[in-house]
């Protein structure tokens, strides 16, 4: 079994998580993600695009947990991002599990939707597709470097109902309170669920990273929550496995916003796990058990944590 370079802090974390198989985790991190993508129904009917791909020799099969999503089994291993279907915006290359948060959010045509940490735009384009270019999507990111790819991906996807903003995500909870029907809060994290994309995340990981980022994550989730109308929904997601960036953040939201409640959501055909009830002496709110997570070796994809939260009438 090949191994990747792992920091002492990451090894200590893995050994502290009661439901992690450390060997399987480390092995999964050496395996590339499958080639998965969504087809763009904003441009052409799904069956037309799939036929177009098959005419080009692609073998594709549906993914059960996301709409318009496929796995490619191609004989030619040209880079997917350099193919005609990609460049004309017929497909969007996206990790298989990374499609789940938007499925949990389930945006509808005509709604007002906020994507708080939107760059580079995978989930924004997925949201826009489900909204069918109706209603409004505000795609925000705080990074000047990442805003260009976001704009370019929304363009390639043919999105006409979007506004792209470059703001600290905390702006929306303060200045646009109760303005959105749904909000996606896919926050910056320690990325320990996607180490197969960048081994440096495992090698350079330290507890300090989580300590810094979890405060930001909580403030972003509070902002997304406050920006949502009563009765609206917020999805909080990360691509990490750390309980302080996942269970703790949701638990803190529940303690600070009394109207918040977690809704059950289980993606079809995906192996998911219950979150931890406690970790390292910290006991989490029992509602957190309704969230779910998956480890990278569960589905041959990324590790993810997803919470679907409904905003109540009282705060």
């Amino acid at each position: 079994m090949s191994r990747i370079p792992v920091s002492e802090d990451l090894l200590a974390l893995l050994q502290s998580l009661p439901d992690v198989d450390v060997d399987l985790y480390l092995d999964a991190m050496t395996r590339p993600l499958p080639e998965t993508f969504r087809v763009n129904t904003l441009k052409l009917p799904e069956e037309v695009i799939v036929s177009f791909l098959r005419e080009r020799g692609w073998e594709v099969e549906r993914i059960s947990w996301a709409r318009h999503a496929y796995r490619a089994n191609r004989a030619e291993r040209e880079e997917l991002g350099a193919t005609v279907p990609h460049l004309f915006g017929l497909i969007y290359i996206q990790g298989p599990i990374s499609m789940v948060p938007v499925e949990a959010l389930d945006p509808r045509p005509g709604e007002r939707v906020l994507d708080l940490c939107a760059a580079p735009g995978s989930k924004s384009t997925q949201i826009a597709q489900l909204m069918e270019n109706s209603g409004v999507l505000v795609a925000n990111d705080a990074s000047t470097e990442r805003i260009r790819p976001l704009i370019s991906n929304l363009q390639r996807w043919g999105v006409m109902n979007c506004v792209v903003t470059l703001k600290d995500g905390r702006y929306f909870g303060k200045r646009m309170r109760e303005s959105f029907d749904r909000a996606l809060c896919d926050v910056p994290c320690s990325s320990l669920g996607i180490v197969m994309k960048d081994w440096a995340a495992a090698k350079n990981y330290s507890h300090g990273i989580t300590e810094r980022v979890r405060v930001l994550q909580l403030s972003l989730l509070l902002s997304a929550y406050d920006a949502t109308v009563p009765g609206g929904r917020v999805v909080y997601s990360t691509c990490t496995i750390h309980p302080l960036e996942n269970e703790w953040v949701v638990s803190e939201l529940l303690s600070r916003r009394s109207g918040a409640r977690v809704l059950e959501f289980r993606p079809e055909g995906l192996k998911v796990r219950r979150p931890l009830e406690e970790w390292s002496g910290i006991r989490f709110d029992p509602e957190v058990a309704k969230c779910f997570k998956c480890y990278p070796y569960d589905n041959g994809g990324e590790g993810f944590f997803v919470a679907l939260i409904e905003k109540g009438e009282t705060r």
Partner: protein
């Protein structure tokens, strides 16, 4: 960014009609003129939200560009207006689509394009693939942004 008012839209439509036979711009879309002669199309609700937010980085979709040679449709503009195109549309076969996507010029005669036209829109079956400049060198030069071109082998 400047919103195109009724007379601007009328003038734009006349230009679109002249070049591509387009006889209608969807009424529910707001058109805004951005930098370098680019025009973006955005839904009314998104436009109003942007107005409320104030400073925004981008709005809607870049659909066309005005140049000294006339106007041309972006890849997404050609897909938006595709069903309304009546003039200066050329059909690409599979091999030509590959060349087009890599930004390589194709002979006017090979495409059957009107040599008097300024721009043509290319399509491959139901897929509209943006515009090409009809040049005096006897070729049509695809106006595909460099970052969206497929690599040339």
């Amino acid at each position: 960014m400047k919103v195109l008012d009724r007379s601007d839209r009328k003038a734009l439509l006349e230009e679109l009609e002249r070049e591509f036979g387009i006889d209608e711009i969807p009424q529910d879309l707001v058109l805004v003129e951005a930098s370098e002669g680019k025009v973006r199309a955005v839904t009314r609700e998104a436009y109003e939200t942007a107005h409320r937010i104030g400073k925004v980085e981008a709005l809607g979709l870049y659909v066309l560009k005005r140049t000294k040679f006339g106007l041309y449709l972006s890849v997404e503009g050609s897909q938006l207006f595709g069903p309304r195109l009546r003039r200066n549309v050329v059909e690409l076969n599979a091999a030509q689509l590959e060349r087009w996507a890599s930004g390589q010029p194709i002979d006017i005669s090979e495409l059957g394009a009107d040599p008097e036209a300024s721009f043509v829109v290319a399509r491959h079956g139901p897929l509209f693939a943006g515009s090409g400049k009809v040049s005096r060198d006897g070729k049509v030069h695809p106006q595909i942004p460099k970052e969206r071109r497929t690599p040339v082998e």
